[in-house]
């Protein structure tokens, strides 16, 4: 049943221009970053670099590409998540789902995975693009895997946030603005508390937990953080929809 909702959401995102626009912009963006990264690598490496400062091509190019990946979270997630529930509220299509034999959990999870799978296209695209370096060099696939996993968890967490804000309002733009502001705060939380890294609030920063993945380190603590973060917002969304039924 989750799968049926997921299919409907994917179909819907490909039936609207927004999905294609996001895919186009981000393939262009990451394509350019990749080219810049490759050029940059040759410029730096052809110059006089001390052996200790040399780094592999995967890391050199990867850092540049994955360094900008948070834009997916900041731009694509609010743009695509805003319509998930609030659009249905506005066009009064929620009764269609509520009166079908589905639980609220299935509806919410279906919508959530629909968005995450759509954005995974970009994650896979980036991973594939970096893997093409393997044609003329030895790519560190572990690095790409760790970054992809980190990015996937980051996207999942932020999608849950976007879905939650989408369930709060019947105005998609309001939902987009709210999730954008929240995500920007969550991403740069560690910058805000840069003077005081021990502050517990800094621990909430999404970027801090993404950091270890971006160096190629898969840390279970970070995975646990993202999983809990996602579950929290999905639960809030389910509760918000249940309130519709109870309070009307």
């Amino acid at each position: 049943m989750i799968f049926n909702i997921l299919r409907k959401e994917l179909k819907s995102v490909f039936a609207s221009p927004m999905g294609w626009i996001v895919l186009t912009i981000f393939t262009f963006l990451f394509g350019s970053l990749y080219l810049t990264g490759v050029n940059n690598y040759f410029e730096v490496m052809s110059g006089a670099v001390r052996p200790a400062e040399r780094m592999g091509v995967t890391q050199s190019v990867g850092q540049i590409v994955y360094g900008w990946a948070f834009l997916i979270v900041l731009v694509a997630v609010p743009l695509l998540s805003m319509r998930l529930i609030s659009e249905e509220r506005r066009s009064q299509t929620l009764p269609f789902l509520f009166s079908a034999p589905l639980s609220l959990t299935e509806i919410v999870l279906g919508k959530f995975f629909g968005l995450v799978i759509f954005l995974s296209i970009l994650i896979l695209y980036i991973a594939f693009m970096l893997s093409t370096l393997n044609i003329w060099s030895d790519v560190d696939f572990g690095f790409i895997m760790a970054n992809s996993l980190g990015l996937f968890l980051l996207v999942a967490g932020s999608s849950a946030v976007g879905l939650y804000f989408s369930s709060l309002t019947s105005q998609p733009v309001a939902a987009a603005v709210m999730s954008f502001v929240t995500l920007i705060a969550l991403i740069f939380m560690d910058r805000i508390f840069v003077a005081d890294p021990s502050n517990p609030l800094a621990q909430f920063s999404l970027m801090r937990h993404f950091q270890s993945f971006s160096t190629g380190l898969i840390d279970t603590a970070d995975i646990a953080y993202f999983v809990l973060f996602t579950i929290t917002f999905l639960t809030l969304t389910i509760r918000r929809l249940d309130a519709d039924r109870l309070r009307g």
Partner: protein, 321 residues
């Protein structure tokens, strides 16, 4: 008892302390069409939302074919097809795509989806619209798509909130025939403002006003109320009221306008005692110049107004039912 498809028990819904629906109870048997009438804001849609599990009742319970909506919502919802007041259409899809999604979500097995979609389209007259975007369809066709999604999984209970709004007369006739057809096998609940429609398609009528059921009974009870025991007679040389009252069976008479007279007679159960023939004979004998005689029907609208706006009348009707 097994063929009760809908059992609503003392349904109550509060909106911030105000009772939108209070203590509504009714049963529906398989093969019945129930009409839901009421002025705007009476609680028709709220009741329907509670029946379909879109809204949790503040008190009371709903059972669909014996399955409790609150305890087993999934199983109960699988037996229902619902068209809300606002058509829940995803306008970016084509008719086929949308109906396929509807069939899938209502657990139609994957092998039967194509057949179910074709069947629903055929029944709602949508065959030639398959590949059109719902967004580009006219209002009436969108309404048909809405009805199609409600019947696609051939549910036991079909609940339609004002199904004939926005349709042209021919479409309305088709949809009414369709409702009758569905009502033959399953149960249908529909709400409407169009009173003749209720008479045409429904077996049962419920009139709801200010959240309370003011009438619940068979359509024949309502019809009997409507036909009544009055005659409207036109004379060229109008006789006096006394002359008419002399005729056996006539209990009351009044002159309505210059040449018309309204006559009330005692009892309509025994047609032989009705004074129609005696009046005609008297008219011929006395050369009253009779040119028209017809039963004076209270329109359904009048009955409706009576029921919803006169509490006393409402109570007697409810008792009679």
């Amino acid at each position: 008892m097994t063929n009760l498809t809908v059992e609503a028990t003392e349904l109550t819904r509060l909106y911030g302390g105000r009772e939108a629906v209070s203590n509504v109870s009714f049963n529906l048997k398989q093969g019945e069409v129930l009409g839901f009438l009421g002025p705007n804001g009476a609680g028709k849609s709220t009741t329907m939302k509670m029946l379909t599990g879109n809204l949790a009742p503040s008190a009371g319970s709903v059972k669909i074919c014996g399955i409790d909506m609150i305890e087993n919502p999934k199983e109960a919802k699988a037996l229902i097809g619902y068209l809300p007041e606002m058509r829940p259409l995803y306008k970016e899809f084509t008719v086929d795509e949308y109906l396929t999604i509807a069939a899938r979500l209502h657990r139609v097995s994957s092998g039967n989806i194509k057949k179910a979609v074709e069947n629903a389209k055929e029944r709602c007259g949508l065959g030639h619209m398959s590949k059109r975007l719902i967004e580009n369809l006219s209002n009436g066709y969108q309404q048909r798509v809405g009805i199609a999604q409600a019947i696609i999984h051939s549910p036991m209970v079909v609940i339609l909130d004002e199904p004939t709004v926005g349709l042209d007369p021919i479409q309305i006739r088709d949809i009414r025939a369709l409702i009758r057809e569905i009502g033959g096998e399953h149960s249908v609940i529909l709400s409407t403002h169009i009173l003749p429609e209720v008479e045409m398609v429904c077996d049962h009528v419920q009139i709801i006003d200010k959240g309370k059921l003011v009438f619940n009974g068979g359509i024949d009870v309502l019809k009997r109320q409507r036909v009544g025991n009055k005659l409207l007679i036109g004379f060229n040389n109008i006789p006096s009221v006394e002359d008419i009252l002399k005729i056996k069976g006539v209990t009351e008479a009044e002159i309505t306008d210059n040449n018309m007279m309204r006559v009330r007679f005692a009892d309509d159960q025994d047609q032989n005692k009705a004074p129609h023939e005696a009046i005609v004979q008297a008219a011929v004998k006395n050369k009253w110049g009779l040119y028209q005689i017809a039963p004076d029907q209270t329109s359904l609208e009048d009955v409706f107004v009576q029921l919803t706006y006169q509490d006393a009348a409402a109570e007697t009707m409810a008792e009679a039912a």
